[in-house]
Symmetry: C3
Subunit: 362 residues, 3 copies
């Protein structure tokens, strides 16, 4: 990946970041703007040609002693941490670092073409500058936009639309009639448009309900490895623009995920649930079906959501581990909480106090 990596001075890098961010990320350089920078690196291992930043507050002590050629910091951190190297001072160091890393690591250009072992249906429409890898399949009536990459052994069903410059890594499956916007990235093993889980009980067995909806994915969506997004039962499953899905996520049929929401790995979303815009869902969260989560909701990892959420904010539901014996005792006490309440009531009665109405209700 290091091949052909660009080398720029710190000042050139700052100019490139300003341009890439549409002029919205201003920065001042305190130090040597003529120093050459050729890569990003972690605080502790960065060398003199590397750019680094403060990824986590736990690593603050490493800033002062970093050997990096430059570090990106807020003005406050710059003043407080006093690194011995050049500093890019800006308001959003993480975003600045992200753009700089993009500048320093341009996506390798692919050679357009169709591998001779790929199977493209004559009724598929393949845009200019597309690469279709070995063993990949594109079925009839499908439209692959300019600049796309359909990598090795990926499968694109019939009637699919893929926007310009979208990339399917090796082994992605996009089933019939689904669509992806421009500039999407889909990682290996993701399955888009498998049947939703729809069965009606009848006479001791399950009757399959044909899943006739589609999956509609907006622009700039990234989908992690082995993530599954089911097609709608009747209506469509919808992933709006800019959504980022990590690996091994399950998105049930008729779910809608609002623009720019980000979901960490192993999240499961049951059917017909709507998630708002700009939500952040932590790893292994489970969300029941037919719920509505409003915009700007944060759910911390390992939580269960079984009711709709109507107010923006942070929500939690997980218990941190304890040493096993302690945990066993806590769980045992929890399961005996009835007896605790009984004892409390007995004492209250003995003391002549009126027990809480609320507690008497259950």
């Amino acid at each position: 990946m290091a091949a052909g990596r660009p080398q720029l001075t710190l000042a050139e890098l700052a100019a490139a970041v300003a341009e890439r961010s549409g002029g919205r990320l201003a920065a001042a350089i305190d130090g040597d703007g003529d120093r050459y920078i050729d890569a990003v690196a972690p605080l502790e291992s960065a060398g003199p040609s590397h750019l680094t930043f403060l990824a986590n507050v736990r690593y603050r002590n490493a800033v002062a002693t970093t050997r990096a050629g430059a570090v990106v910091l807020t003005a406050a951190d710059h003043a407080a941490l006093q690194p011995a190297t050049s500093v890019v001072v800006c308001e959003q160091p993480y975003a600045w670092f992200a753009f700089a890393a993009q500048v320093l690591n341009p996506v390798a250009q692919h050679t357009p073409g169709i591998d001779p072992t790929a199977r493209i249906d004559p009724d598929a429409k393949i845009g200019a500058d597309v690469w279709v890898g070995p063993g990949a399949v594109v079925e009839a009536g499908t439209d692959v936009g300019v600049g796309c990459r359909i990598e090795a052994s990926s499968y694109v069903g019939s009637g699919v639309r893929i926007g310009a410059n979208t990339r399917l890594y090796p082994g992605v499956r996009v089933l019939d009639e689904c669509s992806l916007g421009a500039r999407c990235v889909v990682h290996s093993g993701a399955v888009i448009g498998a049947d939703g889980f729809g069965f009606a009980p009848f006479a001791g067995a399950w009757i399959k309900i044909p899943q006739t909806g589609r999956v509609i994915i907006g622009a700039d969506v990234e989908i992690g490895a082995n993530t599954t997004i089911d097609r709608g039962a009747i209506d469509d499953t919808i992933i709006e623009e800019g959504v980022k899905l990590d690996n091994l996520i399950q998105v049930g049929h008729n779910v809608r995920i609002g623009a720019h929401s980000a979901l960490a790995a192993c999240v499961g979303i049951s059917g017909s649930t709507t998630i708002g815009k700009r939500c952040m869902i932590g790893g292994e969260v489970g969300i029941a079906g037919h719920l509505a989560i409003c915009d700007d909701v944060v759910i911390t990892g390992f939580s269960m959501v079984s009711r709709s959420i109507t107010r923006p904010g942070v929500y939690s539901g997980g218990f941190p581990v304890e040493e096993a014996n302690t945990w066993r005792r806590l769980v045992a006490r929890f399961k005996r909480s009835d007896s605790l309440v009984t004892r409390l009531k007995r004492l209250e009665r003995a003391a002549g106090a009126a027990p809480d109405q609320e507690e008497d209700d259950d």
Copy 2:
């Protein structure tokens, strides 16, 4: 998918449903039996040629104002909701709707044949009317039943048996010696028969135990995208007839799942556990190993099962999310429940009451 969709009158549709259900689903039409119906649609967006139904009690208000050509309801809902359109009145609207959707959305017929890029071992036996897609592989000693579809880049190992009319979507893997019954549907990325997780600790490392069992799958089983079913360690892993597995489920070695059980996405079942017939397991449930869950058990989503269940019924174990500050306080209190009990005991002693024996045990 709309291509070649049948168009029937409501009366013809009712007759087709009656036939498809083996005469077990009677219905009366209140309204215009001669109206043409060509698709199913949700209550809110259905138009005059669409059939709809009440998918969830939350949508009851939409029944009265639906523009659908017909709606399937129980007699009670029909009387209570008084829709302005034709009504199919029956005892099991969901099942009736499922059969009707099947009639209106027949599975597209595949063209039998073997794609020239598929690799069929000369010692494999391929039944009549089978389709093997591009890049698919069928190994020696394998028997693929009549009417099966083995779609693009799927892999079927050696000594496998696949019953008639079973469909493997693109990218399914069935490893050596496993078997599937008739009319199964396996979605993309599912892996059937990978090694179970069997290692013996020895001298600070792990010694692999060869996984010599198989996976045996009954008829009419559906397996979701990227679900994994491990082969048995010595005995077989068994999925009985009519079982429905959603996406991203893990079934450990030597598990048995009883007929017509349905498991939602992201469930994990550890090795050697037996699940009874007609069970329903919610999403993200985790079930420990070497347990027995009896027939007719319902486990709600996000629950942990660490003991056998011997009585049919509904079981739960998840905590719904709270606003994060509230949750933190609740967890802190929970972890101090020892001190609560101590204080209670102190009060009881002061009041001259004998503390509960049970509480003194721990």
Copy 3:
């Protein structure tokens, strides 16, 4: 799989196990050392040519009546259970059984060669005795060690190194620049080296941070079906030697897993977390990012780890299911624990006791 299975006397089998374990597993035979053994089998179904062992304490009663040709037991179990058949007496029956199963079930030798439909880049280096299956792809600059198997439709990117005798089952993906040690086993659908989940928030959207690290995997690692291991963001993701990962596990970017740790299915590990050596992580455990778990930690299934663990031991965090009505009442009480504390304080004040300082803090 039974084809070509070896047949040995019990004494010959014991000698083979002794050799395979490097002489570290001594055993004494009490009974007929000349009996032929050709397979391992479970206690209950084993026959006279089968070796069996006590897999779980629940099955102790079955030892006395087993029809197996031989059973592996500790001296204590031998004395206590008195089986009517030959006994292999040793200190570590499970490890002895594992080695014996390996002897009785040798891995089938593959025929070296490159399937004509595989695509090997001319700049890839393929060692002796390698098998590359149909539709598999090996990109430029990659080095595949002697004796490897790259099975059907697997994908190996550019600049990858794969150690000797490693096996990729059908449909594995190893992305650019990653490396695997010798004797690894990677099951179908696993994805090694997809991009980590790295995005910086900026102006209401997410800016992708190029994931320029690699995945580095040691020798003797086994990786389950559909498991995903993300490449590092800048530094590498590292899986040390002898680690065993079950199915559907997510390993985030820059995670390090120490040697000989074993993780059960559906575990999720967020980015930059370090797990020590010889840890055992139960199924569906979730581990937050930027944590350090020390060596020799056991985490039981369905636990959430949100802080570092610095002492070896067993840790738990899951609540076992209850009958649903009981559970609902317990959760309701839990959510009202504030009121419980309030009532307790009221009683304490009435009794003239000083409330705990700790409880007053929140």
